[in-house]
């Protein structure tokens, strides 16, 4: 807390003390209510603001606290000062208990559990007559006394003020300390939080219990203050007012609950002359605040101030020479990661089968393979995200098989993600500081010991080492793509892991940045770490790997040095498909560019966030043509398809379809005009039957006789004919692909877009599929086809375009492209491999 904040705080407290000393009984009561509500709000903020959970049941904890004090003081003659901690304890214990069912559910489910809890507490208070006095409640609760003097209204108001100040100070320190960071990390990304060793179950349980303690203490004071409580003092539905305090004030802000409490309590009082119209106003106000200030009043004001003053105070930029920090140099002897016979199946599909390898320290081990080969699944198995059905993972002498991912992380295995998983609402440096804990948080740190300067220095050194040069205090979510990557890598390093798992670190990066990441990985291996890389960018993989494993359909098909792998015929086959499997070419001269141009794309650009995925793409398709778009994974093929079909918006450039500009239309409008995409991964509607799926295909473009049309299409696909009544989700991958194409045909598209139809299919099925494509082509259907299986696609295509890094690098007729080496370059990088 800065000196200025302290000063403001002291002034505010002074003001309130003065107000309390001058207030009349009503004002005292209202002020005390504001204070108590603020205390509950501060506690609820730990749950809502920090851990991102919701509770509609805090009235239950408030009631437990109030009844504890009432029963212990009025019934058993305890001193208030002993009863109050007991109130906090019982409420906290109830919170801990409730967190058990609450941990496993989210959103509306959690809301329901907490509502039910508050309801049960209210009703039980009414029924446990012997203990709680039933509906009559407990009267004559003595106010607290100190040194023989009994507290009256004013004393209690001062007590409430003291507690509220303590609560706010505690929250400020808690939320700024390790626990606060850990909870925020969990809120922003549970997956990533686990991968830096945080135990989500334990953290949520603590947040729930702690939050309940605040409510319990406030309830305890309320009992002493009002001198009378009954079940009707704690209507479960008013829990929503506590939530309102946090939401209106501003979740995850220190002062939010104070402001929220002031509004929620004072506003109805200010409106008391409106008597019966009060609730109407409260409801309307809530709607307005939710709409206009989603971050609450304090959150909204502070971002407004930030905007007015300008982006000052983002913290200093990273300084440092970028040398490897001393603590990163391998200490002691490094152990290899040993994977043995690892297997897992999802619903009968063997995603990874009998995978064994040993990743040596000091080396980069890459896992490559076509899409759907099981690479990421293998990574998830190692990192403990999935439990293998067979096999083992060992690091040195430690068996990590089947351990939870936070335990795996603590054992020294760090990872990054395909789409970066930063804690987006935390600062860059906080992302690292919490990771340094390796999940170790002690209860002694509740009051939030400030981060040591040693830790900060370490974090800064790590950021400098990975090459991050931005400011330290900026929110991670606002970083550019490359910086996100770098910070994520630095965060993983903060764990000081033995093993580093990188899942497509170059995805979405430009050439230069990719090279930077490559050098970084190489340096890490040089520091004695065991680096495991999954990547589609072949130049990168070939450039930095010491060893490469190739997976196909869940199985290892090749294992060796880059040179060996590049020459391996099995690898080429896996990537390009087999020429002898290729579909039938068009008879005769074909129709290259013969018909009217129906699809004309020029200057098309698309981006995901800050990273460009398509750059100035131009292509055209004429009526009756089959055009293929080829390129390695990550070249932007699927994005192109999504951009054309309207799923990806906005895009720049021009897409003319049948003479009409469609680049701004939403997907359903594009589909209704007859440009129909059969998406990657089939995406049939699993709960609908085959026939329903096909009929739905015609939804946007109803043919005059749907039944006949559907029959005509189904007749083309014998496999579908047999299974017409079956639910689509129960069919095999190949059948689903046929269905997806049939569904696309049902709307009699003017142009059919096909995205990776052969993905994950067995060779026999691919052949069948391509036979059908050839048939469709000959039947006059215009098709734009994207397929990783270049040989297959070229077999049926009239013309083709090759995409590389989001731009068209080559185009021509199928025959021309076959002869060119651009294709192999695009797929496997480096020099062209000798064609088999």
């Amino acid at each position: 807390m800065s000196a200025r904040n302290l000063l403001i705080g002291a002034a505010l407290i002074g003001l309130l003390v003065a107000a309390i000393l001058n207030a009349n009984g009503y004002h005292l009561f209202v002020l005390s209510l504001v204070g108590l509500t603020a205390i509950v709000g501060v506690g609820l903020n730990i749950l809502v603001g920090l851990s991102g959970q919701i509770s509609l049941g805090h009235m239950g904890f408030y009631a437990i606290g109030a009844y504890t004090v009432a029963i212990l003081t009025a019934g058993y003659g305890w001193s208030f000062w002993l009863a109050l901690p007991a109130a906090g304890f019982f409420a906290g214990a109830a919170g801990g208990l409730l967190s058990i069912p609450a941990l496993r559910v989210r959103g509306p489910y959690l809301a329901m559990i907490t509502i039910a809890f508050a309801f049960v507490v209210e009703q039980s208070a009414a029924e446990m007559e012997g203990l709680t006095g039933g509906w009559n409640g407990i009267m004559g609760i003595a106010p607290p006394s100190l040194f023989g003097a009994s507290f009256r209204q004013r004393g209690i108001a001062l007590l409430v003020l003291t507690l509220a100040v303590l609560a706010v100070v505690f929250y400020a320190r808690f939320s700024g300390g390790a626990w606060g960071k850990a909870l925020r990390a969990l809120r922003d990304s549970e997956i990533a939080a686990q991968s830096i060793g945080l135990n989500p179950v334990w953290l949520r349980c603590v947040a729930f219990a702690l939050s309940a303690v605040f409510a319990g203490v406030a309830g305890g004071v309320f009992a002493a203050m009002s001198g009378f409580i009954s079940p009707e003092s704690f209507p479960f539905f008013e829990s929503i007012l506590f939530l309102l305090v946090v939401v209106i004030g501003g979740a995850d802000t220190v002062l939010g609950p104070l402001v929220g409490a002031a509004i929620v309590v004072l506003l109805p009082e200010a409106l008391s002359s409106l008597a019966e119209y009060r609730l109407l106003f409260v409801g309307l106000l809530l709607l307005v605040v939710l709409r206009l200030a989603p971050r609450g009043i304090v959150g909204g004001l502070s971002s407004l101030v930030t905007r007015l003053i300008g982006g000052k105070a983002k913290g200093t930029p990273v300084s440092g020479d970028g040398a490897a920090p001393a603590f990163l140099r391998s200490s002691g002897e490094a152990a290899p990661l040993v994977v043995d016979g690892l297997s897992i199946a999802f619903g009968g599909v063997k995603a990874v089968q009998d995978l064994s390898f040993e990743a040596a320290p000091g080396a980069v081990t890459s896992i490559i393979g076509p899409n759907g080969a099981g690479k990421t699944t293998a990574l998830n198995l190692i990192a403990g995200y999935y439990r293998p059905t067979a096999g083992s993972v060992r690091l040195g002498g430690v068996d990590l098989t089947g351990r939870a991912s936070h335990e795996v992380a603590r054992a020294g295995i760090g990872r990054t993600y395909q789409t970066t998983q930063l804690f987006e609402h935390m600062s860059v440096v906080d992302n690292l500081l919490i990771a340094m804990r390796r999940g170790r948080l002690s209860l002694a740190e509740f009051a939030g010991a400030a981060e040591t300067s040693r830790r900060r220095a370490r974090a800064e050194a790590l950021l400098a080492f990975v090459g991050y040069q931005g400011p330290l205090a900026v929110e991670a979510g606002s970083l550019a793509h490359i910086d996100k990557r770098l910070v994520e890598i630095a965060r993983t390093l903060a764990l000081e892991p033995q093993v580093l798992l990188f899942d497509e670190p170059a995805a979405g990066l430009g050439e230069e940045d990719t090279a930077r990441v490559g050098r970084l990985l190489k340096r890490l291996a040089g520091l004695g770490r065991c680096v495991i890389l999954i990547e589609h960018d072949m130049p990168l993989v070939m450039g930095i790997s010491d060893r490469i494993l190739v997976l196909d359909a869940g199985q290892k098909i090749c294992d060796g040095a880059p040179e060996t792998v590049r020459e391996d015929p099995a690898v080429l086959k896996a990537y390009l498909g087999e020429a002898d499997l290729a579909g039938r070419a068009r008879d005769g001269a074909g129709s290259t560019g013969a018909g009217r141009r129906i699809l004309d794309v020029s200057g098309l650009c698309a981006a995901y966030g800050a990273s460009d995925v398509l750059r100035d793409v131009g292509l055209s398709v004429a009526e009756g043509e089959l055009v293929a778009v080829l390129g390695a994974n990550g070249a932007g093929k699927s994005t192109l398809m999504r951009a054309l079909s309207g799923l990806h918006r906005p895009v720049r450039g021009r897409v003319l379809f049948d003479g009409e500009a469609i680049e701004a239309l939403p997907a359903h409008e594009v589909a209704r005009r007859g440009l129909v995409l059969v998406p990657e991964g089939r995406q049939v509607f699993p709960e609908l039957t085959v026939i329903q799926n096909v009929r739905l295909g015609a939804y946007g473009r109803m043919p005059p006789d749907l039944d006949a049309e559907v029959e005509r299409i189904i007749a083309r696909f014998p496999r579908l004919q047999e299974r017409r009544g079956q639910r689509a989700g129960l069919m095999s991958g190949g059948e689903q692909q046929m269905l997806a194409i049939a569904r696309g045909l049902a709307s009699r598209p003017k142009v059919l877009l096909l995205d990776e139809p052969s993905l994950g299919l067995a060779p026999a099925l691919i052949q069948e599929l391509y036979a059908i494509l050839a048939e469709l082509r000959d039947g006059g259907v215009t098709i734009l086809l994207v397929d990783q299986m270049a040989e297959m696609a070229l077999g049926v295509a009239d013309r083709a375009y090759v995409l590389g890094s989001g731009a068209v690098v080559e185009s021509g007729t199928a025959a021309e492209l076959r002869r060119s080496d651009a294709l192999q370059k695009a797929y496997l990088g480096g020099e062209a491999a000798t064609a088999s």
Binding site: M1, R4, N5, I8, L12, L15, A19, A23, N24, G25, Y26, H27, F29, V30, L33, A126, G134, W135, N136, G137, M139, A172, S175, G176, S226, G227, F228, S230, E232, S233, P235, T253, V254, L255, L258, V259, A262, L266, E269, A270, S272, A275, E276, R278, L279, I297, V298, G299, L301, S302, V305
Partner: protein, 391 residues
């Protein structure tokens, strides 16, 4: 940490503004506070009380006010039927509005919560509906709480007597709403049962105000041999009870506390509404005295009430009307609005007041703060929409 000094300052300023005290001078009107349910399920009771109060206040003001021309002003606050809200509202009325006295509402828990505050601050609190025995018998000395309404303990005696006397029932079953009022009457009825050799309680059943069906509870009472059912509940759930009884085809006599008198009971309960006999302090049906005629006229003029059948919750209006007049007399007699003086004036009220319910002569004494007793209770029933004396 994100703090916003400006925001804090603004909030502080707003709070300071809300603080401006209201000064009172001698020429000001006399403020009378009302804490009652103005919204929610019991909102209609608050409305009935308001009508009674307002008619009486208009009469007093029309006759030149009190204390040499000071007018009475009614300050209303909604308690939403919640004790904490009621307590807060009472505080606000006392400290901010400087009211001379407070009139209560229908909900006993709310009144019970306000009682300690009234005694602590020395502000007369006049109950006009809530019947819980402990409201007036609260062990405080001096006691600032008065009531012009029924008292549960006395009503309960009357109900058991009536069940036996009118229907010859020896075995009665209790159907009680599961809330403080029901609980208060459970105790009262048990005490009345102790004192009454002719009647025995054979079963006690409770239900919630939101229950749609009560045949299980009634079936158990029937199996226990109940010859009459004593009902303690407000009109809407009471109507649910009558519908359940009709559904079972059980024609057991029903003797009820007065809760069912408000809120369109005949419409809600349907054809069997007339089977229930219940307690009232007053009925606007039948021959009316001068006060009754006057009040009915006013109800017609001010609130568009066409006739007795449209008087909703008549006891609320009648009790409030009489209570307001008694309070006015006491203020006049006390010669000011000092709480202690008004209390003493109420306890030793001079002269008689020809009210709606009866003619009051020394309605209160230092030991008895209830103006109405068992003799003032009448047993009635519905005949269509009309409340008629039970035969």
């Amino acid at each position: 940490m994100k703090t916003n000094p400006k925001g804090v300052f603004l909030a502080g300023a707003a709070m300071a503004l809300a603080w401006a005290p209201t000064a009172a001078t001698a020429a000001d009107p006399i403020r009378i506070g009302q804490v009652a349910a103005l919204s929610g399920a019991s909102a209609q009771s608050g409305e009935a009380i308001t009508r009674g109060l307002q008619i009486a206040i208009d009469e007093i003001n029309g006759a030149g006010g009190l204390l040499d021309g000071r007018m009475i002003e009614l300050v209303q606050r909604d308690d939403e039927s919640k004790p904490p809200k009621g307590l807060l509202a009472a505080r606000e009325l006392i400290y901010n509005e400087g009211v001379a006295a407070i009139i209560g509402g229908i909900d006993s828990p709310v009144s019970l919560a306000i009682v300690p505050l009234a005694n602590q601050e020395g502000v007369p609190f006049m109950g006009v509906w809530a019947a819980a025995t402990g409201i007036t018998q609260n062990d405080a000395d001096p006691n600032y709480v008065f009531r012009v309404s029924a008292v549960d303990a006395l009503v309960d005696v009357k109900l058991l007597n009536y069940a036996n006397g009118a229907f010859g029932a020896h075995k009665v079953g209790l159907m009680l709403i599961n809330n403080p009022w029901g609980q208060s009457n459970e105790k009262g009825l048990e005490a009345a049962d102790e004192a009454n050799d002719k009647v025995e309680i054979v079963g006690t059943e409770k239900f919630e105000s939101t229950d749609v069906d009560m045949t299980p509870q009634l079936t158990r009472l029937k199996d226990a041999g109940a010859e009459a059912v004593v009902l303690v509940v407000n009109a809407p759930p009471g109507a649910q009870m009558m519908k359940s009884r009709a559904r079972m085809g059980w024609d057991v006599p029903v003797v009820s506390h007065w809760g069912i008198s408000g809120g369109r009971f005949p419409e809600l309960a349907g054809p069997t509404a007339g089977d229930a006999r219940f307690v009232q302090t007053y009925s606007f049906f039948g021959d009316q005295g001068p006060a009754g005629k006057k009040v009915l006229e006013e109800l017609k003029a001010k609130y568009g009430v066409a006739g007795p059948e449209e008087v909703v919750s008549p006891v609320g209006t009648a009790n409030a009307y009489d209570a307001m007049h008694l309070l006015g007399m006491a203020i006049e007699q006390a010669g000011g609005t000092d709480g202690d003086a008004v209390r003493e004036a109420l306890e030793n009220l001079d002269g008689t007041y020809e009210g709606l319910i009866k003619t009051y002569e020394k309605p209160f004494s230092p030991d008895d703060h209830d103006a109405l007793g068992p003799d003032d209770y009448v047993m009635v029933r519905y005949d269509g929409d009309r409340i008629v004396p039970a035969e």
